[in-house]
Symmetry: C2
Subunit: 171 residues, 2 copies
DNA sequence: CGACACATGTAACACGTTACATGATTTG
DNA sequence: CAAATCATGTAACGTGTTACATGTGTCG
């Protein structure tokens, strides 16, 4: 969030509301989660960090708005972010721990968990594919939906592997 | 972390250090990131929330240890966690925003970013596969490594899709 | 004696989430 | 006039990260 907002401001200064819209546009259907409060919180934190500068702009026929622009330091931070090719750890740790916990505590049946989870992922996959169809083909959001779909498919295949491993050894 | 620790305690009470080891054992090579301080922080937060109860145990030939056990409320929380089949949003949002930002600001070339990212993911994939080979076949950690590998492969395929989309339209 | 495993914590900070709070303008 | 959209924020909270701080027991 932080770096992404900074990067959008590096392209062009904006006020909070506008920034939120640009972010939503860049993300497409995936970006509908965005919380409005978070934008302003993040902007003030960025300002405190000296990466952006906010300028109050009076408007005659509307309430005032506050336009933010990146500082030189902020621009450096964006460049550094772009060059950083680290990738967040992607192991499905949480679900794996659920399986271990289910088997260990007897509070649930691991295989039942796997089945329920697969149903949920299939549902999500269908949802993503539905959104992809109703999306303009040249849109950036489409690419992101494709990324979601590929990951969901990978996770579903992983659940298959889990099932063969956990079937038969339910204690 | 929070729920996972709680679930492990539901299986069997433990003190912080031991819990950390059990967590590491359940995760295998993936779990090597675990921060020791976090365990104690989380335990005290769980206690404050009334989900676990800590009992000081004096040891003759060693420093005291503090054993935690789940409360009834804690056990309910574990059961609820196991039944919850929500799945964290999996879209590769951050990298997508980097591409948009790179193209928008001119601070980097999108296609170069994709290439660098793919090299990094291939490196991670090789690393995961190397770890999988040196892992006992019946180990739980192996399954988790497989999950990582599948996701990494999905991400690499997504990067291919990104490349065909972004090639040629570098402004 | 030194290194390593055992064992426990705290303080400060960063980030995201939720919920609350406020008000103007436009449009049906 | 009511509802949607424009527009901005704050307060409290939960969680994770980093870094620091402090020992004891054992084994080579």
């Amino acid at each position: 969030m932080r770096e992404a907002m900074l990067a959008l401001l590096a392209k062009e200064p904006a006020h909070g509301y506008e920034l939120r819209q640009r972010l939503a546009a860049a993300l497409g259907p995936v970006g509908e989660v965005l919380n409005s409060g978070q934008v302003y919180v993040t902007l003030s934190r960025l300002e405190r960090a000296g990466l952006v500068r906010g300028v109050q702009v009076a408007q005659s026929a509307a309430p005032d708005k506050k336009v933010y622009e990146v500082t030189a330091e902020g621009r450096e931070a964006v460049a550094a972010w772009l060059l950083d090719s680290s990738w967040p750890k992607v192991a499905p740790v949480e679900f794996h721990l659920k399986l271990v916990a289910a088997a260990g505590t007897g509070l649930a049946d691991p295989v039942a968990l796997i089945d329920a989870q697969r149903r949920e992922l299939m549902r999500q996959l269908r949802e993503v594919q539905r959104l992809a169809e109703s999306q303009p083909a040249e849109d950036d959001g489409l690419l992101l939906l494709e990324g979601s779909a590929l990951r969901l498919q990978a996770d579903i295949r992983w659940l298959e592997a889990c099932e063969t491993r956990w079937t038969g050894r339910t204690r």
